[in-house]
Symmetry: C2
């Protein structure tokens, strides 16, 4: 596409329309005919129109192939950067909304249990990912460098894509339940641990080792930013709310609030190495007990109905099943398929055990632990991005990349299917904790009434 | 910016936040303290943060200069393509909303007068633009090629930026008045005439001449598409509305309607040479008498409160006053300033006369003609884009470009200031037409109640 800016914009407008409409059709079919969460239909619509499926086959005059993989030196995108950017903005706003909807007192109460959940959810998947890679011969035990693919698969396994869980819990009004809050707090901790794991592996890959000092700096930066944001945000939340309320023209409060969330998200990623969505979630959390929340919640929901499906469709568009079947470098198709099956099973088991068992020890009963473990299950775009970095940097080959994608799709599709039935029924807290934590549980109930759709 | 996609996205997120917040601050100050339309504040905020003003001076760690001019072979953008794309989407949705808000019967009734208004509003500004350029020595009468700058300035003068007028009229609830409808219908005709003028000039520039057959084809394509869209859209509007109503999940109807508007907008530009906003306006018009309209109007307004200020801020960011003062190729600063003053006056006079006089002959009284002429006055992004094409292709120099920008800013800023007082007071129709056209004038009144803000 080398043409005037307006011609390029017009072509991208057509492609954006295809994504919007496909996502909405997918969501509608999922909800109405399959009785599964909308987000699943959006993901599948994305897979269907991806450059590796229909989008790569359909060709339009002037525009050419509908969707192409956009490659640069560091990574690959399934869509033009303009469309990828909009999808990412959607994720930032979605998590800002999730933060606003979260009860902050609940959150602070469940940070400690969430830390246990997240640590288990990083250590067990990382270990099992390494074990599977070595066991099936996709890593080489002779040297540190030969081990790198195993370390990288481990890192991919640790990912938690909280966007999908947040979306499902928000849809069914369970975001402020103890389990919902624990999953979201767990995702924050998981992100901090995840960037450390990735930094260590990239350090080993690039320089053969990584110093404890560097890890400490990365850790301190990420944790320091998050703590600082949460503390300052909470202290200043009243003032921020007043500041935003200075804007009287219609819609201005929402726009300015989203603008501030964008700033926090951007700063988190650019200067502190945290994911953007962790930044916007934490900012939403800081504002969750202000008057502002009530003023912007409904209009933001309108914006999100429009934007968020784009994010999930674009995640789906990153799924390249063909890379799994077409590229074989030294391994038979059978052993690659076996690796994919084993890794997918390990991915499910490791998060269920790694996040579920700690949950049992910090106040949740079996129902609650099951809900939390399922909430941590989806790997989503986080795993795809880590895998993309691995592929682009040559750390893992196309076949391992394909295997990682199968694992990601399996966990990402499975989680929303299981989450909704899991949240039916009684409390997930152990009876001795319930008396202390449940009443006055008004925020979860208030949440549940906002969205009156049938679950 | 050469980094991973997520790093780039994060940096752009910060810049997007700066634009959003600046636009909202500008809009709020304009409305509250200067009692001028919000859009004017958004434009000024854009001018202030442009790469040529504050945005080019402020520098952040990692990111560097806040806003840079992004150049490619054909044109220049004041922001990264991702942000420009979002701004353009905002314009497409804004004009879709304007189309939905327009009363279709009114529109069809006023197409004929609007054609007269638009033709006068093209011919007179084009002529005066040429005259000014030749008179002040910025074109060369020796050859056809020497005349090209004069032709190009004429083309820039013919532009009409209906976005600003639509926004102001929508804000004060006057979009469905006879004058409002005439301006919007006039903008459609103006766009068709404008692309023909541009095609002729580019043809003369590239090949020394342009065949009547080619002009006929361009004309037939543009008019044919617009007529086809309007007729088919009107015939199928009930079915389109039913189709969109198939989507039951919250927000889906809006998203799908916007998706379809994007398709029409993209097809208009990519395949028929019409502006995207003309496509989305016409699609909105086709749906304006359906049930769908009532279902999506309110949520779309929410989305637009968020998006549309971005569009006007980005228009403002294209304004480069420095090019006017810094580049002098063979002309003295004084003669360039004189050219800017003369062209700005000619631009105002030529649209007021060119569009106002025909309006007087087709059923409007002096009040109505004044309103219509003011509505056609702003040159906005259309002139900036045409001027950008001229600069990039070497047709005009930087000093003529700077002059064109001054003219654009003057007309664009003047129009909203004058439009609001102009729409106070009585009917703009001649008394003999009023009996026929005014009652039952429920749509304009209905519009006026939607937005209950003080004008």
């Amino acid at each position: 596409m080398h043409e005037s800016p307006l011609e390029r914009v017009a072509e991208l407008t057509l492609l954006l329309a295809v994504i919007i409409i496909a996502a909405k059709i997918g969501g509608e079919i999922a909800e109405r005919y399959f009785k599964v969460p909308t987000v699943l239909g959006e993901l599948c619509a994305g897979i269907a129109i991806s450059p590796f499926a229909l989008g790569g086959l359909i060709s339009l005059p002037v525009i050419g192939t509908l969707f192409r993989v956009e490659e640069n030196s560091e990574s690959t995108l399934p869509v033009a950067p303009e469309l990828f950017f909009i999808a990412q903005m959607a994720a930032v706003i979605l998590l800002f909304e999730a933060g606003l909807e979260t009860n902050r007192k609940q959150f602070l109460r469940y940070v400690r249990p969430a830390t246990a959940v997240a640590m288990g959810g990083v250590i067990v998947p990382f270990t099992l990912g390494m074990v599977a890679t070595i066991w099936l011969g996709f890593a080489n035990l002779d040297s540190i460098q030969g081990l790198i693919p195993a370390l990288f698969v481990g890192a991919i396994m640790t990912a938690t894509s909280v966007g999908i869980t947040a979306r499902v819990l928000s849809d069914i009004g369970k975001l402020s339940t103890p389990e919902g809050v624990t999953v979201l707090a767990g995702a924050v901790v998981d992100d901090v641990l995840g960037i450390i794991v990735l930094a260590v592996i990239v350090g080993i890959h690039d320089e053969g080792s990584v110093s404890a000092g560097r890890i400490a700096i990365i850790f301190a930066k990420a944790v320091g930013f998050w703590l600082g944001l949460t503390i300052i945000g909470s202290l200043l939340s009243g003032r921020i709310s007043t500041l935003i309320s200075w804007f009287k023209s219609p819609g201005a409060a929402l726009a300015v609030a989203i603008g501030l969330a964008f700033i926090v998200a951007g700063v988190a990623e650019v200067y502190f190495g945290l994911a953007m969505i962790i930044g916007s979630y934490s900012f939403g959390l800081a504002l969750s007990n202000t008057n502002l929340k009530h003023r912007i919640e409904v209009p933001m929901r309108r914006v999100n109905y429009f934007l968020v499906p784009l994010f999930f469709a674009v995640i789906g568009m990153q799924v390249d099943f063909t890379s799994f079947f077409s590229a074989h470098e030294g391994h038979s198709t059978l052993s690659t398929i076996l690796f994919a099956v084993v890794l997918s099973i390990f991915a499910i088991v490791s998060k269920l055990v790694g996040s579920g068992l700690p949950a049992l020890t910090v106040g949740f009963n079996r129902i609650g632990s099951w809900r939390i473990a399922l909430g941590m299950l989806p790997r989503g775009e986080v795993a795809l991005i880590v895998a993309g970095i691995g592929l682009a940097s040559g750390t893992i080959g196309r076949e391992v990349f394909g295997v990682a994608i199968v694992m990601t799709v399996v966990t990402t599709v499975l989680a929303p299917i299981l989450l909704i039935p899991a949240f039916r029924g009684g409390s997930g807290l152990r009876s001795d904790d319930r008396a202390e934590s449940e009443p006055p549980a008004s925020p979860p109930q208030a949440d549940a009434t906002i969205d009156s759709r049938p679950p």
